[in-house]
Amino acid sequence: MTALRTLSRAMFYGFVRDRTAVFFTILFPLMFLFLFGGIFKDQSAPRPKVAEIGQVQLLDAMPAAARQQLAKALDLTQTADRASALERVRKGDLAGAVEQQGGLVTIHYSVGDQVKAATVQGVLQALVQQANVAATGAPPRFRLAGQQVEDQSLKTIQFVTPGLLGWAIATGATFGAALTLVTWRQKKILRRLRLAPVRTATVVGARVGVSMAVALIQTAIFIGIARTPYFGLQLSAWWWLSVPLVLAGTLAFLSIGLLVGAFAKTPESASAAVNLIVLPMGFLSGAFFPLDNAPGWLQAVSKVLPLRYLVDGMKNVMVRGDGPASIMAPIGLLLAFALLLSLLATRLFRWDDV
């Protein structure tokens, strides 16, 4: 067997036999996928809660179909206890409480949540108007028709998958490089390698190859799970362009790992340093939630982070359906970043602890 193949095998076995490493590079990001993609799957604004105090003729007289329609807008409950209903409105537990005396429908609301208060008022206003028109016996002059259009907005899973995958790849590659370097230095394997007629390029090549393989495995598992009906990820035709992106991203994060490995003395401090770098980067790069509504400073910070380009590029080709042109800039920036940091890491590289 060649030195490259055998060293790669040694690194790969070292990885897959390390339960902690497998957990943090594969299972941990998947847990986030379940969290974001699964639990927040049918996310929409909750309906305002409204209490109906005693008999409210306006609502009770509605036909069943209309009542159902109303339930989509308001979460109605009935109560006989007026005092407690008003107290709950005051505390903000209820968006409003309705009561009716003769022709007067009163809505009690607080301005704690103005949007909900306005919604409740609007809905009841419409009902009162409707009842008024009906009372005149004349047919209504204007009618509103609803027409549903195809939903084009990005579902949660659509932006969560590329984001979390990018973060998972960043974690895996950075940990891989940093921990290999630190443990191999600490366990004298680096020294031992230097005593064998093997070229440095072979050792580095093995690490790069293994990390790329791990990143592609992560990608396959992630996309595979997100595509199941439970999550319902829809891939665009250009999704496979994420492969070159993943490889370029792996190089960029390997270089960060090398830099960490050049400084850290123990595996523990290397892990801590990697976490300190990659986890905040996930938040700042839009890996966990979109940056569209983020403040300007955050958008600016994200522009110097490699994860931003990895995540953006993957969103472009995986779910937005952009073509090859959309990954040129991200790949170029990732490679430039990798080159710069690798040069720095090479200068700081140490064979020995002391």
Binding site: M1, T2, A3, R5, T6, L7, R9, A10, Y13, G14, R17, D18, T183, K187, K188, I189, R191, R192, L193, R194, L195, A196, P197, V198, R199
Partner: protein
């Protein structure tokens, strides 16, 4: 037979510490050479410079006719190294370790089974290194150093931390390696190990070689008295004083210890008195030599 290793006035400082302070020696082909000394004597530093792992501050190192520094891959493929404490890839089995190290030297993976057999680890082939005992790990480490059939082998304290039985097993293994024609350079803390294994030994202290030569010759050259001890109370004190050739007498209540340079006459006299109960005769050892040269007890 030429010299396989030639070292001249080797020096290495770490800040204030002169770790190696002017070391000169040569090792002949097929020789079993030992570097003996207490902790911090400079054994590892010397060995690492000979292997080409560290750059000497000054001095020259030639191994197999080539300079050891800067790193020289052609030389590296002809030497085998076992570092102090073992260096293993994490979570690989014994066989995978040997295969991996072998591949670094372009050695076919078939050889790993042979190496496992050589060091008696065939039944541990599938065991991960983390689960090997200290002695098994040392033997595996040796197998990894020998996998490419090197001409010269450097072993840094290959038996430290082993129980007496495991140490003796390893000694046999090391003798075999040497008998196959390989030059062996080993460092050790243990005087008895150096005496048992080495053709020649260099005793190091504070970065310098204080004595060098075959262990037996070194001890003989010391011209130290032989210590004869018998059970205390077997001999009348008056008789003790009259024994022939006794330089000094010590009695700790358990043993009576007599130092002599003429053991023949003394032992004959003891036989005559019928006082051989608990007899022990101990010649000088390398420890006495160390004490004589440094004025300090040898503590490994």
């Amino acid at each position: 037979m030429g010299n396989i290793i030639q070292i001249t006035d080797l020096r290495k400082r770490y800040g204030e510490v002169a770790a190696v302070d002017g070391v000169t020696f040569a090792v002949a082909e097929g020789e079993f050479f030992g570097i003996l000394g207490p902790n911090g004597a400079g054994k590892t530093t010397t060995l690492e410079m000979v292997e080409g792992l560290r750059e000497p501050d000054s001095g020259e190192v030639w191994v197999l006719g080539q300079r050891a520094w800067p790193r020289n891959p052609r030389l590296l493929s002809r030497i085998g190294v076992q570092l102090q404490g073992s260096a293993f890839f994490e979570r690989l089995t014994a066989r995978e370790q040997i295969e991996t190290f072998g591949a670094l030297y372009g050695v076919d993976s078939h050889r790993s089974d042979l190496m496992l057999e050589t060091v008696g680890l065939t039944d541990k082939a599938g065991t991960r290194v983390e689960q090997l005992s200290g002695g098994q790990a040392q033997r595996l480490s040796l197998a990894c150093a020998l996998v490419h059939d090197p001409e010269v082998v450097f072993l840094d304290e290959p038996t430290s931390g082993l129980d007496p039985q495991a140490r003796r097993n390893l000694w046999d293994l090391l003798r075999d390696i040497n008998r196959q024609g390989r030059t062996v350079v080993l460092t050790t803390h243990y005087m008895d190990e150096a005496e048992a294994l080495c053709d020649r030994v260099a005793i190091m202290d504070n970065g310098r070689i204080i004595e060098m030569g075959p262990p037996v010759a070194l001890v003989r050259g010391l011209d130290a008295p032989v210590r004869v001890s018998i059970s205390s109370g077997r001999l009348d004190p008056a008789l003790t004083a009259a024994l022939p050739g006794v330089d000094s007498v010590e009695d700790d209540g358990v043993s009576l210890v007599l130092s002599t340079r003429t053991p023949d006459a003394l032992l004959a006299a003891l036989v005559e008195h019928g006082a051989l109960d608990g007899l022990q005769v101990r010649g000088a050892t390398l420890e006495d030599l160390f004490l004589a040269r440094t004025g300090r007890e040898y503590r490994a």
